[in-house]
């Protein structure tokens, strides 16, 4: 099991558990047993299985307290990567939410709809967002996700401070 990594957001240490996979849109991915983790990343067709997804600690740090979560597709919907699937509103942020990979959404965590604060309490566990069947072969390891965060950290800080307003 690869070790957990830490990404520094200013002084905040965002933990990236080593045993998970990650999507570029700041969701973690955990295989649901008995699906093993895809052995070869970057190749489609090698990562078929069922997975749970949730927000990474990095995403949580940007969003803070979750107030409201809303999905615009139903259970059993086939989605493309990047497809608009929902919306979130928090104490600090609002955002549309998008599918992290191609596949079928097999179920949403219904308890979050009543009490989204669970996401803040346990974003890697009880705060899981949805489950999907699909090919996770294109997702990142913790190390690759860490690099993705580092590469984009400066741009992200400018976004947070409102100095960028490029493609909406």
């Amino acid at each position: 099991m690869p070790e957990d990594l830490i990404f520094l957001m200013g002084k905040f240490e965002a933990v990236l558990p080593g045993g998970l996979r990650y999507a570029r849109n700041h969701m973690w991915c955990r295989p649901l047993t008995p699906t093993p983790l895809p052995p070869v990343l970057g190749e489609s067709g090698r990562g078929e299985g069922r997975y749970a997804f949730g927000f990474t600690t990095y995403a949580m740090r940007l969003m803070q307290d979750v107030y409201f979560l809303d999905w615009i597709v139903g259970d059993g919907t086939d989605v493309q990567p990047g497809q608009h699937i929902g919306h979130i509103e928090t104490s600090k942020a609002v955002s549309d939410l998008f599918a992290p990979m191609a596949g079928t959404i097999t179920g949403f965590n219904k308890e979050l709809l009543d009490d989204p604060s669970t996401i803040n309490l346990d974003n890697h566990g009880a705060g899981w967002l949805f489950e999907m069947a699909g090919d996770a072969g294109g997702l990142l390891t913790a190390a690759e996700y860490h690099k993705h965060l580092a590469d984009n950290w400066e741009k992200t800080q400018r976004l947070i401070k409102g100095k960028i307003n490029e493609d909406i």
């Binding site: 990047g82 955002s95 998008f98 191609a102 409102g162």
Partner: protein, 335 residues
């Protein structure tokens, strides 16, 4: 109705939200006690069709006005402009309470749009009813605006001779049509259509190329405009993602950037993280949204093959991710 009084119009929220209704009532009650104001209430501005009494009323207002609405000021101003209710953009001093992490940004660059046309010499101030939950800040700002308008009127040169029927001493109101409260407040159906901010629009025509539902048109002066508002597919914001100047507003959309939030400046608002959580380029998201509407309409999806802004060709290619590969395969199919 006279030009020397300030008209204040409150545009109600959609639905029957008790907290919103309560704020509306307390704002109106407080404003009715202020001297020199003509106060009226109409339904949700964005939903008013051309025959709605509320809109006819707004069209009949000759002088300066303040509009309080449940949307961003920029959204309200350009909705009015499209409805033929034009004026100069009045700067409001009302700022929502800044959060503790907020910081002042520098002056944003002035936008270089084609501007509104046929603008009469009067000012329209728009205030956002979501900024505060009590009536005081709004009443104070309306007082400030009333004073600003009064000073501006007095600073103007005295009127020249040929203004038939107008004397400074006694203002005779023109025979204004009467609008009963029942007619004014008749609930309109909900509408969904794009609103162009002409202070930002450069007339590049990307939107009319992109939209495949005939919403956009070109007017007699070769300017882009939203011709067939009700051809727009409910809930679809795709064209706003495609506009290079962020000049297209959907006032009811959930994310602030598309709903008309001030561009390029920090207010006390929440950050829009859509770009971070997107995992896909705005254009690609727009193309997917458009395809969804096409298919729902019984038509063929087109992916990125139709009406996509040419600037995509200049974009530096990073390593391809899954979405790029998907789009490539759609292109290869030549749908």
């Amino acid at each position: 109705m006279s030009r020397s009084r300030l008209t204040v119009v409150l545009s109600q929220a959609q639905g029957k939200h008790p907290a919103r209704r309560a704020l509306e009532e307390s704002v109106v009650a407080a404003l009715l006690m202020e001297p020199g104001l003509d106060v009226s209430v109409v339904p949700y501005l964005y939903d008013l069709g051309p025959d709605h009494t509320g809109r006819l009323f707004l069209e009949s207002i000759p002088g300066d006005m303040v509009v309080l609405a449940w949307m961003y000021p920029r959204a309200a101003f350009w909705v009015l402009d499209r409805d033929g209710i034009k004026g100069r953009f009045g700067e409001s001093r009302l700022r929502p309470p800044a959060d503790e992490d907020g910081e002042e940004s520098g002056e944003p660059e002035p936008p270089k749009g084609i501007g509104a046309v046929g603008v009469p010499d009067r000012w329209i101030y728009c205030l956002d009813l979501r900024d505060f939950n009590n009536h005081d800040p709004y009443v104070q700002e309306v007082r400030r605006i009333a004073e600003e308008c009064r000073q501006r009127r007095e600073a103007k040169a005295p009127p020249t001779l040929v203004q038939l029927g107008v004397s400074l001493a006694a203002e005779k109101p023109a025979a204004a049509p009467t609008f009963t409260p029942e007619q004014l407040l008749q609930q309109p159906g909900r509408r969904w259509y794009p609103v162009i901010d002409y202070s930002r629009c450069t007339n590049c025509m990307e939107c009319i190329d992109f939209c495949l539902f005939g919403v956009y048109g070109v007017d007699g002066q070769d300017r882009i405009f939203v011709e067939n508002q009700d051809s727009c597919k409910k809930g679809c914001p795709a064209c706003s993602r495609v506009c290079p100047e962020h000049a297209i507003i959907f006032p009811d959309y959930k994310t602030p950037a598309i709903a008309g939030a001030p561009v390029g400046s920090v207010s006390g608002l929440k950050i829009d993280l859509t770009k971070l959580f997107g995992g896909a380029d705005a254009i690609q998201i727009a193309a997917q949204e458009r395809d969804r509407e096409l298919v729902a309409d019984g038509r063929q999806a087109v992916g990125l093959t139709v009406g996509i802004p040419k600037r995509q060709a200049d974009r530096v290619q990073g390593p391809k991710d899954d979405l790029d590969k998907l789009m490539d395969s759609l292109d290869a199919l030549e749908l």
